[in-house]
Symmetry: C2
Subunit: 341 residues, 2 copies
């Protein structure tokens, strides 16, 4: 049963388990440092499809099917799938899962989607509304570039603060508690923060305040300190946003997270040798990092307690053209390693 | 506590109450038969804003604030707001609620959004994850036309099967059970159905199979018949989709709903005298009809048991241009009148 603590945190008292998880990626992700940990890497960014959007749907489907297979579950075992993505009307998700015959809750959280779907799936399992639920999301560099910025053929130069949308997807299968399995122990759904950033090529800066607020709220609600975690993992602030986050949490909340902080956008690529500007982004970035590297290390005991904080910039191409600022949000999920035998 | 019954239905055993509800509309909605029941009618489709998108956000905000005020709640009393809409990246919702400082769960369900947000908010309250939650959605004829079809200035002729996106919003405030108040007694989250319809000007036909499946599943899970309901209310199939729905439920599931069926898209406008083609549509259509006419009649005892089934066509302008069919979904919410004194 979910138990409300502090102002805004839910303890999931039954500790729902992540019984299956998978992350898949594209070419650039396969050239990064997590290459070996991905469950599957497409060697063609179109994934054999006739459009980037269809490719994204296929990649999404692949992540869900691999996570289910690793969980030993079939589609008919799943009570709900929570999914969403960056594409207009979330078609990356809907077209990816449309033939799965699973009750579907569409969510929209931009790049915070993995934390949002993971939260909802875990709350459903913890409350008994579901026995088994899937959380998934995806993104694709090419479908995102042409939707949010410019057609790839235009060959526009990107600014150094711009992030590289990952061509990737991740999925988690949540079920009631089992031993030696990563667990979702608490969640915090964030509030929208908008400090007036208008530069759609600097999402890290727009999202950092939301992440700082959510991390501070979670630490305060649970009466914990950064040192109580093996990792406070944001996704995806990149280089610019991560620096800002550390500054903001220190300045506004008096909390120094620098010794335990990392960011999925910095982990997924080789920041020295890959041409990814300020780092990775896109729903699939944190989704694939969490559902490979992080879950693997929670499972094998290298990590014990990870606060995963995914951030989303809730803009659209239209809102940017209309001169709007970028409302942002961050959701937190406490992942723990479960008991060790 | 949510209790799973049948294959896919959740009984909300605490009977969460809709302690506040409001629907607002625009000019065309004010000229329709429910005019008197709307909480507020804008007499300018731009609502004094500089764009249709900004107008939609304002209308969304208005519905939420009016529902909260009628519930006697302030924003700080609300644990979660569940919201979404048709605009790319759900900006109708996010920009409407961005200053409310309420934890925000973004959802995407196209025109099924009111049933989806209402389901999630009610499940959260029923499970103890929230004490008070808001469910809301909006749509705007002008922002939808230019996003999904053609710029208004083009003056394109619409087909007779096309539906008219309502300029409207609706919001419900859900809290633990109180007497003499409409309740959410059960919910069913639907599965995606795609029978291969490709005509984006005939959404009713695309969505009818999803509605038929959801209604049939709900009746079967709860072991009830159409006659057990005062109203089975779809939103929004319009004229074409409603006729198809009745045919499909009879043919495929052996259930005759014709004596108790109505559709929000047929209720919101005067189908004889308003130029709305096959009827209303858009997230705001069912949201405003349910949060005015239906809730009012549940509250005053004229209706006792309403199965609200909102349908969504999960297409995007891009998916249509790429020759894709239209995946559709329908979510059901059982609304009851609560005890009568």
């Amino acid at each position: 049963m979910p138990e409300r603590i502090g102002k805004n945190t839910l303890l999931l008292t039954s500790n729902p388990s992540v019984i299956g998880f998978a992350g898949v990626g594209g070419i650039t992700e396969g050239e990064g440092p997590l290459s070996e940990e991905f469950d599957y890497l497409f060697d063609d960014d179109e994934a054999g499809q006739s459009s980037f959007e269809k490719a994204e749907s296929l990649i999404h489907k692949e992540a869900v099917e691999r996570a289910l297979s690793k969980a030993g579950k079939s589609k008919s075992d799943v009570d709900y799938i929570f999914a969403g993505d960056l594409l207009n009307q979330c078609t990356g998700s809907t077209f990816g899962i449309r033939n799965m015959n699973i009750p579907y809750v569409g969510v929209y959280g931009a790049c915070s989607t993995m934390a949002l779907t993971l939260s909802l799936a875990s709350i459903f399992v913890d409350s008994g509304a579901a026995n088994c639920a899937v959380a998934s999301t995806s993104s694709h560099f090419c479908s995102a570039e042409r939707q949010f910025r410019l057609p790839l053929e235009y060959g526009g130069q990107r600014t150094p603060t711009a992030q590289h949308t990952a061509t990737a997807a991740g999925a988690s299968v949540i079920s009631s508690h089992v031993k030696n399995t990563p667990c979702v122990s608490a969640v915090l759904i964030g509030k929208i923060r908008d400090l007036g950033i208008k530069d759609a090529n600097n999402m890290g800066a727009a999202m950092a305040p939301a992440a700082a607020q959510t991390i501070s709220d979670f630490l305060s609600d649970t009466n914990t300190k950064p040192e109580d975690y093996d990792l406070i993992l944001t996704g995806d602030l990149g280089k610019v946003g991560s620096a800002l986050l550390k500054e903001l949490t220190e300045k506004d909340f008096g909390v120094d997270i620098s010794s335990v902080h990392n960011d999925c956008g910095l982990l997924i690529y080789d920041m020295e040798n890959q041409d990814v500007h300020a780092g990775g982004s896109g729903c699939g970035c944190s989704a694939s990092v969490v559902n490979t590297h992080v879950m693997n290390n929670l499972k094998n005991g290298k990590l014990g307690k990870v606060l995963f904080v995914a951030t989303g910039a809730l803009l659209s191409a239209t809102s940017t053209l209309q001169g709007e600022t970028i409302p942002s949000i961050a959701h937190a999920v406490l992942l723990t390693g479960g008991e060790r035998e």
